[in-house]
Amino acid sequence: MDFKTLVFYILSAIMVFAALRVITSRNPVHAALFLVLSFVTAGGIWLLLAAEFLAIVLVMVYVGAVMVLFLFVVMMLDINLDRLREGFWSYLPVGALIGILLAVEMALVLGGRYFGLEAMPEPPAVQAGYSNTRELGRLLYTDYVYPFELASLLLLVAMVVAVSLTLRKRKGLRRVNPSDQVAVKRGDRVELVSMSAEKE
């Protein structure tokens, strides 16, 4: 077993363990942190595949931004751990059904004739000057430019909708506006009056 294979197995073991802990740990903050761990190890596995751009972007977007906001919310939940265990047995049949379905689907895809070493031979080794980032950028902005732009438009729409759904204007709310505060000049608040001295 060469070094790369060893690293792959170590990373995979950590990732499977972390993924299992995400669903089994009782504290949601611990679960979220295990999810972070599994993202980071997934990034490591992608690095082994010479996909450094995807690996780094996975860490940057999911670990650096998405999971931080996730933790932000999860940490503020007031969770009663005993209440969480209620209803475990009543939800079990539905959960088990979905789990089995997922496993069957994965088995069908992975075991089918479109997948596997015969159908997908190992890609040729990359040369020294190969840049994954440049290759990906070239593909995205030439061959796949319309799907790529469509996807970005979709994301933009989703973003605008999410903002507009949560945007509520309440009447009678007294709040400060930092922009107005910054724009204040001395003349708005202070008036210097020139007065002649009064004599008694």
């Binding site: 903050v29 611990h30 942190l33 972070v36 450094e52 751009f53 780094i56 972007v57 860490v59 940057m60 670990v63 650096g64 931004a65 931080v68 906001l69 933790l71 932000f72 940490m75 503020m76 840049s131 994954n132 980032t133 400060v176 930092p178 922009s179 505060q181 910054v182």
Partner: protein
Amino acid sequence: MEALLEPVSQFFGPAWPVVWTLAKIVAIIAPLMLGVAYLTLAERKVIGYMQVRIGPNRVGPKGLLQPIADGMKLLFKEIIVPSGASKGLFILGPILAIAPSLAAWSVVPFNDGMVLANVNAGLLLLLAITSMEVYGVIIAGWASNSKYPFLGSMRAAAQMVSYEVAMGFALICVLLISSSLNLSDIVHSQGQGKFHEMGLSFLSWNWLPLLPMFIVFLISGIAETNRAPFDVVEGESEVVAGHMVEYSGMAFALFFLAEYANMFLVSVMTALLFMGGWLSPIGGIPDGFHWLALKTAFFLFVFLWVRATFPRFRYDHIMRLGWKVFIPITLVWVIVVAVWMMSPLSIWK
């Protein structure tokens, strides 16, 4: 050098690459830690003089041994874990705070070819690693199971994520005009152009064509490291010391070291990306590591200068500056630079 190392490498045999890399890591981290220690002294001295005080002058000649004394004191203090704390995460917090700020140095080039890992996507890797810095603060705040640390970590999460966006856009401008993610290439791309041929290299560096981005990056860097005037995370008058309230001894010191190591990192990054790294400012003078050190020292001084000058921002003002000022400016400037590059007026051909 090669001939000198030959017997040593034979002694270690197949383990040699690991040993050699470890030696390089020590050669980077040890001076960095020393620099961090003396940055704390420099900070107290500089702010002292700015406020017409003397600063520490008791330990050693002119107070030069003060950081050593501080370090010893913190090392020998007991680390107290609060009884209500989540123990594993409480210990993990400071470790996660300092690990990324040291790991980021792996891709920082110090001179032409003098870099631990000359990665293709170095800039991206740097962004990814620094984006993980916030975890130390968040975990510490939550694991302390106490109110002030929790408030501090909430503030940290919101603030660091917001300013990362502006910082990222500023970096996009830099990589647009140097068309590379490799930090060494980015420095090299600054050493060419009309001004460089006239001998005025400092005018061909990125700071001039990207002046708004340079300013945004520097300010975001200060906000990202939670330094004054953006230090609401540990603002004494509001949340005592934020995420560090429950920490003592070396666990506290790790947060402290991480903050100063991050200041170093942001200064070096500013020097590399906008100020030409190790390139000399005028033609005819040899380039070298000393230029990078000088530029970094200048930006570190700016950090201290800003701290001594400005009062702390209010929290909503910080958020406004990040989202309503910096992000629109950077978004517009990305488009401006892209159009400028494609127009006949482009100076980066």
